[in-house]
């Protein structure tokens, strides 16, 4: 499926429910690295790559919505590049303490997945990437 807008995420709830998503089997840092690759490929970020109010070692999930440039030149969006590089700087400076969802009790993972989904909900609605099912209820 070709998507003009793509959600790069390691949150299983979002990758399951958003049709245009690129599921990442890995950490929040992996999500940011894959986002950077896309930015270099001419994609622009639509949501801030940084989390609000939680540091990298405090949450296992990260989701970033990106958009493919309409121009064919493949030009790099400099604001997107600055934002993703700033975010990576913060994450890589704490690379060894980044929180992983592996081994986490289910109810804890669900709370983290819920917050991550909620932080993305407004942006997803704005760009008409409605989830396949409702976003209420269970978050795993």
């Amino acid at each position: 499926m070709s998507c003009r807008r793509l959600l790069i995420t390691n949150n299983p709830f979002l990758s399951k429910n958003i049709s245009c998503s690129l599921p990442v089997e890995g950490t929040s840092l992996d999500v940011l690295r894959i986002t950077r690759e896309h930015v270099h490929g001419g994609w622009a970020v639509l949501s801030s790559p940084l989390y609000g109010n939680l540091r990298p070692h405090q949450h296992p999930y990260r989701s970033v919505l990106i958009e493919k440039s309409e121009s064919q030149s493949g030009e790099v969006d400099l604001l997107s590049l600055e934002l993703i590089e700033n975010a990576l700087l913060i994450y890589t400076s704490q690379e060894f303490s980044i929180l992983s969802s592996e081994g986490m009790p289910e109810e804890v993972r669900e709370d983290f997945a819920c917050i991550d989904a909620e932080l993305m909900k407004e942006t997803l609605e704005r760009y008409r990437l409605f989830p396949r099912q409702g976003m209420e209820g269970r978050y795993l």
Partner: protein
């Protein structure tokens, strides 16, 4: 607009047959208050407790703190769009139970609520160790949607605060403070020679448990707008936040926003304070660009020389702070930023997620990653095990004897970006 705050000072709490205030004692009719709160079918269990300064009591996880206020004379009612109708507030007379605070506690989504210690080293970091706290303990019904539970908790705190102050109407008032703001035409012509200054008031607005309400409207849906500072004192801004406890602006700190109070004090002496511009901190990049441009355009339209900008929270809101800063500076408006830092436990990491050369006047409320040890208390209201999961804590934060080792991030209001905090620098 003229608002009088009629302060009834409270320094002691007691249960009794009638909710009333006399000689510094706030008596609360527990059954009456519980009956009111239990009407909300979303709550399976509601209970009440007291926590007063100096007692060996710990409260966690804390969701919000609210100061009891009620309108003696309108127009409008306190917390418009929440417990009162949506009429504009900020005029007339408002009763304040000064020294009392309503604290809500209950598990919603783990990791985003805070700690209040009434005694010991933890008490030194939270302003709510000095208030006489009426604690509302909440438990949701099974399978209740998280949005509904958050709403129920928020409303329980606001309803309790309005109830307490309403019941004390007619109590002897200890002091009256008057705040008056002229209309823009008169304000512009006043205080010739003094610089015109406005306050850019950034509000958290990122999603469930990261929201703030203005007259009941979710601020992620607003464009930046002008607000009279006295409206804030009547509860026009309400917190729906459970973000990092240290720097979320709880409702109490909005009601008592020290930036607004200090700007009123210096108004007409050091500058001409024209009012507030409220803006949001959304996740979507287009919103960050749109709202920062719109805010600064409002400031330009007002013709201000200076802008004081306060942030709420950290992480991607740092991008909003920085955009607000450089867009103002490049429009010829001087800025001062009020934020806090996440510089790591050793203080050696980058403090903010973003920066700009124009941000050369920045006030910090402290490093939220500083580690503190909180000795055990005789009594814990709430769920002590939450110390292991709240932001600023980690698995093992709670020791067997009840000692908690956490970062300041976990302590409510420890690094408030409104300056409503006990940390600071003093000239000696």
């Amino acid at each position: 607009m003229k608002l009088e705050l009629h302060r009834v000072k409270i320094h002691k709490l007691a249960w009794g047959k009638e909710t009333s205030a006399r000689d510094g004692l706030l008596t609360v009719n527990k059954e009456e208050l519980l009956t009111m709160l239990r009407k909300d079918e979303r709550l399976a269990k509601v209970d009440l407790d007291f926590a007063s300064p100096g007692e060996s009591v710990r409260i966690l996880p804390v969701k919000d703190v609210v100061e009891p206020r009620y309108k003696m004379e309108g127009p409008g009612g306190v917390f418009p769009g929440m417990v009162s109708d949506v009429e504009t507030v900020g005029e007339g007379k408002t009763l304040v139970l000064s020294g009392a605070a309503v604290v809500t506690t209950g598990k919603i989504v783990r990791f985003q609520e805070g700690i209040i210690d009434m005694k010991g080293p933890g008490a030194e970091y939270t302003p709510f160790s000095r208030t006489c706290n009426i604690v509302v303990i909440l438990e949701n019904t099974e399978d209740l949607d998280k949005h509904d539970y958050e709403t129920a908790c928020r409303m329980a705190g606001l309803k309790t605060a309005a109830y307490l102050a309403r019941k004390c109407l007619g109590a002897a008032v200890d002091s009256v403070e008057t705040y008056e703001t002229p209309n823009l035409k008169d304000a512009m012509a006043a205080h010739e020679g003094l610089p015109k200054v406005a306050y850019l008031y950034m509000l958290q607005s990122q999603g469930l448990l990261h929201d703030t309400y203005l007259y009941g409207v979710d601020v992620k849906k607003i464009l930046p707008t002008l607000l009279n500072p006295t409206e804030v004192m009547d509860g026009a801004i309400v917190s729906g936040n459970c973000v990092s406890a240290c720097d979320k602006n709880n409702t109490y700190s909005h009601q008592n926003n020290p930036i607004i109070h200090q700007m009123f004090k210096r108004h007409g002496k050091d500058f001409n304070f024209l009012g507030c511009i409220v803006t949001n901190e959304n996740v979507t990049l287009a919103d960050k660009k749109r709202c920062s441009s719109y805010s600064i355009n409002l400031a330009k339209t007002l013709g201000v020389d200076g802008l004081l900008i306060s942030e709420e929270g950290f992480g991607n809101p740092d991008a909003d702070l920085i955009m607000n800063c450089w867009k103002a500076e490049r429009a010829g408006i001087k800025t001062t930023l009020l934020t806090d830092e996440y510089a790591g436990q050793d203080g050696a990491s980058q403090s903010l997620a973003d920066s700009t050369p124009e941000g050369d006047a920045c006030v910090t409320a402290g490093n939220a990653n500083e580690v503190v040890v909180l000795p055990p208390m005789d009594k814990v209201i709430g769920v002590p095990e939450e110390a292991n999961v709240i932001a600023g804590g980690w698995q093992g934060s709670l020791a067997e004897d009840g000692t908690i080792t956490v970062e300041l991030q976990a302590i409510l209001g420890a690094t408030s970006e409104l300056g409503f905090t006990k940390l600071g620098c003093y000239t000696i």
